[in-house]
Symmetry: C2
Subunit: 344 residues, 2 copies
DNA sequence: ATCTCGACTGGAACCGGTTCCATCCATGCG
DNA sequence: CGCATGGATGGAACCGGTTCCAGTCGAGAT
């Protein structure tokens, strides 16, 4: 119902002219345009995106692959993506994919391979060669946000410098005079050195050895799920044992740090007097917890990813070839009350 | 590239037959089907959803309108929706809309009005009359999950019985002998009695007056944002004042409860000895906090919403007209260590 | 042996737009 | 004044499928 032919008839013009008038492409007399627009408004006409994309080959729809929606970082990124895409007139189709498995294959080989999305933004997922190849074959631009090897060939990458983040957080603790540190790392930090958690761990180790600590890998690293309960359990374990406790903890994410703070309190260990804790993310709740953290802006990263993908799609009149590509997104240390000078 | 015509040519059949073979509609000889499928596989053919939906009128795509993605309940619902839709072969297009404003209008009047989604699932948003009408006019089924008036006309509704939840939580505290209760309600609980927070508040008030408490509205209700910092600030305020403190708090959500627990600890008030706290949601972190709560299953609700919407779209061979419609989704009280008998 | 029926297949219309191409016409210029 | 130029418009092809309709053919019924 209410196809463009109806609009054309009502306005007394041809389909071709109606299409030009409404889409703004090509030459249409000002008065004709007005007539067509009036006709369209009168019968409540809205273009069929299907029909349009069938011929233009563009869907104005971006596929987003994301492993979690319920972790703060990912949720923020998703919101940033959505808002930005929406205001650019794009739809966002969500694919919640984590780990491997048939579901994941189905997403890449069927859902994303169809002509329903113009491009793909992958947030915090390591794309397999095969998956990338499948997308490239249908030549869909891919933007990867977070994790992975920066500057590698293949898809456009975007993200903070996680290794620098690990260094920065660790150096903050070292400068406060701490020498007994522990890193609560994310699962798989050692096994996947190029993952977010792997890079943060690497930065931690760098800073430690630069400070002359832990020459033979004695710097402690404990891996745990990057959630609040993950941090809680790990810290309970770590701090509950008798013997020399660490005086400072670098948590791989703010959520882990929250859990650690709570565990410390539970054990009667005062933060920051007995234990300094630093996280990374700039979580919404960091202020409430008084958490010192390395802030990043996930929603800003979402925005940046959209800007990049739209540029790859040739939107926005191509202001420049491809600017500042490669430069990591900004982070900054925010000192609150969870860290202090080490006890003598 | 690689249209169905190519497949047909390669298999030596007509487009019509190729289409029938691949979609499984109509009669095709077994051997022909095999040939067509082999041809499709050989050239890596995948149907164009645009072309298909242009003629069938169905997009196999559902629009989801959700106000937050970064609150636990909503994130879980979203995951549930996504997983279920995916396995039914549907895409999920996300519209992150909260409050009012031009963005919201744009979503309803443009994005959702186009022929790009078959139906709409609205999670925790109050649809305006006008918005509903716009969708109905393009006859798109609408399923509303959470909030609003149950059993009302218009869109299909689905959700837990929030009033009963409020009652249940409150009765738990009353049964433990508490008489000085406070309800940490969500923003707008009093102003919008049919919202989730409004109904929970109502249930609380019901239980209180049934117990003979607060005959003249003396039952305390404090409104705050339904987040952890929201609960933290409100509880700090509430518990920090001198004078007779409440001995029990019913928090409108687990996140609020977590904030309240933390505030109490900060003030040196022991939970549960000095203060009992009960929440609602069954948050992933509830166990870690030892929080007594009224559990619901947001991801299960997402699943249920998808089932309902697919039934409205006439999928699944219509097993029954419309079963158990109207029955609220299940909840249950889970007692942990944040509540105990009132001090004498 | 003829008729009927139903499985199987191909031709062609159609979904709703966009865009190429040709035509028409009013101007600007030599 | 003739002609090139370019804006405005319409006709028609096309994007890639699905589906209606008609036709063929073999098997079972009469």
């Amino acid at each position: 119902m209410t196809a463009i032919a109806d609009v054309a008839r009502l306005a007394g013009v041809s389909k071709a002219t109606a299409s030009r008038a409404l889409s703004g492409r090509g030459h249409v007399a000002e008065e004709t345009r007005r007539r067509v627009e009036a006709a369209a408004a009168e019968i409540g006409y809205i273009v069929s995106p299907d029909a349009a994309s069938l011929v233009t080959g563009r869907t104005k729809n971006i596929g987003v692959v994301i492993p979690f929606v319920n972790r703060w970082f990912f949720g923020e990124v998703l919101e940033g993506l959505e808002r930005t895409l929406l205001s650019a007139g794009y739809d966002l189709t969500l694919y919640n994919v984590d780990g491997a498995g048939p579901d994941r294959d189905r997403v890449f080989e069927f859902f994303l391979a169809r002509k329903r999305v113009d491009a793909v933004i992958a947030v915090g997922v390591d794309l397999a060669e095969r998956e990338l190849a499948a997308l490239e074959r249908r030549d869909k631009p891919v933007v990867v946000l977070g994790g992975g090897e920066a500057g590698a060939l293949g898809p456009a990458r975007l993200g903070i410098d996680d290794r620098a983040v690990g260094q920065l957080a660790t150096e903050h603790l070292l400068q406060l005079g701490h020498t007994r540190l522990v890193h609560l790392a994310g699962d798989g930090a050692a096994a996947r050195p190029l993952s977010v958690q792997g890079l943060r761990r690497h930065g931690y180790l760098d800073a430690m050895s630069a400070a002359g600590l832990a020459p033979r890998g004695r710097a402690e690293v404990v891996e745990t799920e990057m959630t609040m309960p993950g941090g809680y359990e790990a810290a309970l374990q770590l701090l509950g044992q008798p013997g020399r406790r660490p005086t400072a903890v670098f948590a791989a994410s703010d959520e882990v740090a929250f859990g650690a703070i709570r565990a410390a309190e539970r054990l009667g260990i005062s933060v920051p007097h007995d234990l300094s804790i630093v996280g990374v993310d700039g979580h919404e709740y960091a202020e409430m917890f008084g958490l010192t953290t390395v802030e990043q802006s996930p929603s800003g990263q979402g925005r940046a990813a959209v800007d990049l993908v739209l540029r790859l799609l040739g939107e926005g009149a191509e202001p420049d070839p491809l600017p500042d590509s490669g430069a990591p997104l900004p982070t900054r240390l925010v000192v609150r009350t969870s860290t202090m000078r080490a006890p003598l």
